[in-house]
Every structure is written in C-alpha cells, then in structure tokens.
Amino acid sequence: MKRISLEEAVAAIPDGASLAVGGFVGVGTPERLCDELVRQGRRDLTLITNDTARPGMGVGKLISARCVRKVITSHIGLNPETQQQMHAGSLEVELVPQGSLVERIRCGGFGLGGVLTPTGLGTLAEEGKRRIEVEGKDYLLETALTADFALVHAMYADYSGNLHYLLTARNFNPIVAMAGSRVMATADHIVPVGVISPDDVMTPAAVVDHIVANH
C-alpha cells in the first residue's frame, strides 16, 4: 500500500520507535508528520536528525511536545527547549559532528558498517569511539545508524513514490530515506508518474513505502 492518509501513516508508528527525519533547521522537514505525531501523543521516540530546529518548528515540535526520549543530532543551539530537557535529564542528547552524522546514516542505508573520518579526533567527539590507523594516519570509526521509520518531505512526489527535493530543502532527506525500515514521504506537490524526469529523481520510488496524501 503506497498511498496512505496522514492519520494512518502516523498510527503505524508506535511509541518507542526510532525515527530518522529529514530537514535542516526546519527547512525540508515533513511538518505534517511531526504535527500528527504530536496530535496522536506519541512518546519515547528516538530521533535521528541534523538539528532540533527551533521551538514550534520542524522536529522542534516533537521536542516541545515531549515525544522524544533520545535524539542523535549535530546541533541543538537554536532550540532552548532541547537544552532544558537535556539538563533536566528527561531527554538524552547524543551529539555527533554533522559530517559524521550524515555518513553514519548513509552507512545504515547503504549497507556499510561504518566509515573512517579524521573529524573529531582528539576531541570530545572521540569518546567511546575506536581509533583506526590507515597508512600512518589516525581516523575515528563512525558506525552505521538506521531507524525504524524514515520521514522525509519532498517538493514533488509522483504517484509511484519518486521524490524530488528543491534547493536547500534536500539536505538530509535523500540520505535519511535510505536508512529507514519503513519510509514515509510527504510532498508539496503530488504529481503523475513521468512529471519528474529520471535524472531529477533524488529518492527512487522503490525505496519509498508510503506517500502521505495531501488534504
């Protein structure tokens, strides 16, 4: 079942699920899925996302509504509520350098066990990670991340599920879309098959499980 209503889509996501969500400071985030997760009162989610946006925007809505127990992210500086919940101990925050975070998600979606990066060596980001030497140079091993659900938002989705993201709303979306066991997409415009040229498809229909109906 490719096409699904917003309510059905979110009903399929249980409390405690892990979600990888596209977007960058709320740009390119599937806002309607976030709104509906809040409306249905989902709890104890693990969130994998570039940043926690701002209060009341993008995945920031999930933070404000206390839907999230743990977030794996690179930046929380624009959302004081994330910091408050972290300091209060009700939200676990795992900070990962942005380039390492996106590679970890890519590894999860691409069947790789991890990548070696120089980023974070000798800093707090090294804590708990293995150091591996290749040809005399040290790297950190950053391991794969996957999620139960990937939630993405496209400019165009065709009926079959091909997705095109516009301008800087692409960001984490195509990477995240590969890393979820179940992939749900919302779109500004749902269009007939063939409207998106083959070279313009950024996430292939074959990896998208559900296109969420527009109103």
């Binding site: 890519r106 691409f110 069947g111 790789l112 091909n162 998106i196 083959p198 292939p204 074959a206 990896v207």
Partner: protein, 216 residues
C-alpha cells in the same frame, strides 16, 4: 520448451508486486520477458537505472541509456537514474528485493561461484559480490549441468562470490531451495523425475515425500 526460456519463466513466478529486482546478464536478463500479468516490478540496472525497459526500436536508442553490458535499453515511465555509489547502496543496503544471477557452481551449502575460473577466465567480479552479499533474495538461474557435469556440487572448486548462501536455484530440471545451509528439492520440471535430478546433481539434496512439478 527451450531450457533457458523454461528457467526464465520459472524465475519470473518468484516476482512479487513492487519488488526492486536486479537481473544479471545471460539467462537472468530473459526473466524480464516473462513477468506475470498484473505484477509490476522495478528492474534495476547496476550502471545506474531503475525502470529499465525493453530494447528500443531502431532509431529510438540513446547512447547514454544502456544496461550494465553497455547495450541500449529504454526506460519506463517513472524510471530514475543515479550514480554508481547510490546504485550499490541499493544493493548492499538490502533495498534490492531480488537478484537473479547466472552461476558457474553452487555448493551443498548454497554458496555461489560465478566470477572467475583461475588461469582461464578472469572477468572480474563486477557487481556480483555486492549483489549476492546485499540483496534480500538471491536466485541463481543456470543450466543444471555443463558438458554433462553437475554444476551443483558438494563444494565449490572455483572462487566464491560471497560467503552468504543463495536462496533459490532454478535450472531446466528443478527448483532447489537453500534452507538452513542445506539444499532441498522443491520442484521438478515438467516431465522430469526426481531420480533424473539427483543423477545430475553432485551435492546432497533433501527430497521431501512429495515433489510438485513447476507450475509453468
């Protein structure tokens, strides 16, 4: 029926709606000609295409739209293209639901050898190792014997493609499933007896009491 056609037709019965399927060269390519009515699948070409369509009519081919062998193909509505890193992410990441590959040997545990004959033929593994390691289901489509000698052997003498066992072997004589590291005879071809399959197979086959005939 031509043995290759029979194999391709039987493999095609494994297709389920919505599957992302990668077909190797040779017999596997023919599977695309026998997709059952009402079953919509996505065919991937490892060079960077989902939605591979049939060979175009004369004058309608484009040199930048080819299959993994460099031969002109067409693209179906809803097709998409991507770079090689993404293409192999689809395979290795388990997004390819089924890959159909030719084989030189399959052993009694389901291991496949299909990429080289030392000292004789060294084409390179191309995408085969990634496909066998990463695809959700691996189907081998091959003739049961070569020059009268079994290709389903106790142990592969040729270099392995992957330590991950295949799931299904389809030949012109039989369908053999790999279950928990053993080979089980699942179907025989029309007019072929169990004894004939066993005689043409070196590896040990589990044979259930009743072996149905291929539904083709």
């Amino acid at each position: 029926m031509n043995p290759q056609t029979l194999i391709a037709k039987r493999v095609a019965l494994e297709l389920q709606p919505g599957m992302l399927v990668n077909l190797g060269i040779g017999i596997p390519t023919q599977v695309a000609n026998h997709v059952p009515a009402g079953i919509d699948v996505f065919f991937q070409s490892e060079n960077g295409l989902i939605g591979t369509g049939p060979v175009p009519e004369p004058g309608f081919a484009h040199p930048k739209l080819t299959d993994a062998g460099g031969q002109a193909v067409s693209a179906l509505p809803g097709a998409c293209t991507f770079d090689s890193a993404f293409s192999f992410g689809l395979m290795r990441g388990g997004h390819v639901d089924m890959t159909v590959l030719g084989g030189l040997q399959v052993d009694g545990s389901g291991h496949l050898s299909n990429w080289m004959i030392p000292g004789k033929m060294v084409p390179g593994m191309g995408g085969a190792m990634d496909l066998v390691t990463g695809a959700k289901q691996v189907v081998v489509a091959m003739q049961h014997t070569v020059k009268g000698k079994p290709k389903i052997v106790s142990q592969c003498s040729l270099p392995l493609t992957s330590v991950r066992p295949v799931d299904l072997i389809v030949t012109e004589l039989a369908v053999i499933a790999v279950v928990a590291g053993r080979l089980r005879l699942q179907e025989v071809a029309p007019g072929v007896g169990v004894d004939a399959v066993l005689a043409a197979t070196e590896a040990v086959l589990e044979v259930p009491d009743h072996v149905p005939t291929m539904p083709i």
